[in-house]
Subunit: 308 residues, 2 copies
């Protein structure tokens, strides 16, 4: 079993390559729930859905989230009822949130509902939320504390972040099968996701981080920072404002307590010695994923490291 830790768009693109190389039944994805929140009374799990929609071939590839060719008629009407609709939820997308919310209200756990969604979308991967307990990523700015979605979507990552808080992380327990899959994995891949808020929110569940330290499986990560910049999202900005160097070296520092190998982009080749000096193997490869063959290539590089 190949186990991956995944955030949103970057992870989903990497995983698209992985399912071309490894049978879906052999892939377990531990997904980020720190971005989860409620809109219009519905439980929305942005990162889990990005992964599911992408692997099911349903995602809006231009945006990286939501359904391809979705309409926004419900959302437009919600404005009439006074809702602020800065978080875009398409009409087809709403079906997922309605289903999830109803199941949760009936007492199902997020892990169970997620498995059901994956299966209904025709997928055979295992997608596990990091935890079934409430865990929300908040960021602290000069003026206030806000949910990550407010920072990310509503305020377009403009406020300067002083601190990231994973609300609930202290008491959050890993979802069923998470620890077991990490301990028994043939290999673990940290997808190219935001190391602070996406992978960071997964690692904030303490028993997950300690399992990564304990497991005998080899752990390989893909740096989401290329040439000092992030491909998508605010990873570079957040690293900088939190005092971590916004580079592959910074990523290596964040993961150094559990990672065996870090894959960095060709443009960062000069950083390889410095990363090696942190005690991990470093592989230089093309990590930008423009085409499916880029994705498959990167998956193969990561896999070769696990199997070696």
């Amino acid at each position: 079993m190949i186990v991956t830790l995944a955030g949103g768009v970057g992870a989903a693109r990497f995983l698209e390559g992985l399912i071309h190389v490894v049978p879906q039944e052999r892939i377990t994805i531990i997904g980020n729930v720190g971005d989860d929140t409620e809109f219009y009374g519905l439980h929305v799990s942005p990162d889990l859905d990005i992964v599911a929609y992408t692997l099911a071939g349903l995602v809006d590839t231009a945006k990286g989230w939501g359904f391809r060719s979705d309409s926004f008629h419900c959302q437009k009407m919600l404005e009439t009822y006074g809702y602020r609709t800065w978080f875009n939820l398409g009409d087809r997308d709403l079906a997922t949130h309605l289903f999830r919310t109803e199941q949760l209200r009936r007492g199902k756990k997020l892990s169970g509902v997620t498995a059901n969604i994956i299966s209904r979308l025709g997928l055979d991967v295992t997608l596990l939320p990091s935890t079934d307990d409430p865990l929300q990523t908040h960021v602290s700015t000069a003026t206030r504390l806000m949910h990550f979605q407010d920072y990310m979507v509503r305020y377009q990552t403009k406020p300067k972040v002083n601190r990231v808080i994973f609300k609930g992380a202290q008491s959050a327990k890993p979802a069923p099968r998470v620890l077991q899959s990490l301990m028994k994995a043939d290999g673990i891949i940290i997808c190219p996701s935001n190391p602070i808020v996406s992978i960071g929110a997964i690692l904030a569940v303490k028993r997950i981080r300690s399992a990564l330290k304990k497991t005998e499986a080899r752990i390989v990560g893909v740096s989401p920072i290329v040439g000092g910049k992030t491909i998508k999202g605010p990873a570079d900005k957040l690293m900088k404002s939190l005092g971590t160097e916004p580079s592959a070296v910074g990523v290596a520092e964040l993961y150094r307590d559990f990672i065996d190998t870090l894959i960095i982009d060709k443009v960062d080749q000069k950083l390889a010695p410095q990363i090696r000096s942190l005690g991990m193997k470093t592989i230089v490869s093309q990590t930008l994923m423009r085409t499916m063959s880029d994705k498959v290539h990167l998956a193969r590089v990561a896999l070769s490291e696990i199997k070696s």
Copy 2:
């Protein structure tokens, strides 16, 4: 203040005429909630919405319910998640149910949410649900007891009904302002709605029926049965199977304890003496509402009876 008792499509069409003749601020509508139920975890109030959408000029006039030109993308996707989607909810329509459901979950009463919806849709009428308490119309058939929506929409009124049960009616209290508006009305109109399940579910709230008997306001009804048949819906069928004559006479019998005047259609002129003998005034008029001028005419006939 003109107070009306209203079900769904027939009432909404009548009320369209009424708001052309009487300022909206002078109209109070007491609406049926017996048809309310949950779909996909959302609280749906079909009759309240039909009235609101119709008066706001938003209704799909061909169907009589839902939004004009609505799309059904969410519903189609809900099938993927295993939902049976026999009750059609359009994407724009969903916004109303999301708003209502979220407000109810926050502890608001249905009457408060309904007032908010009416105002958000730009209307000045007062729409009151008959009760804020749970009251559900169920029908008993040879094989089982089912919610009215199952009978009406899912099974297309095919099963023979032995009995109609208003679940919760025993303890349901009239919503705020309902009794007061009936007692202080300048006149009361029973819209041409199903006397068994639409008006019947309102009358099932006991203090409403007794207020109708006590009020000094004149009460005029419009028979929804024309030539022994209903214009829309299963009123004739239900009356027959429950032992009431499916005719304007049957309607008169159902309302005879509180009504002053019944307006019947021209085609039923021959029934007028029989209805008069039940102790109420009877007016013969055109009651079919094909055009706006038909609706306005019928509203004027009803109003003249109240003011006389």
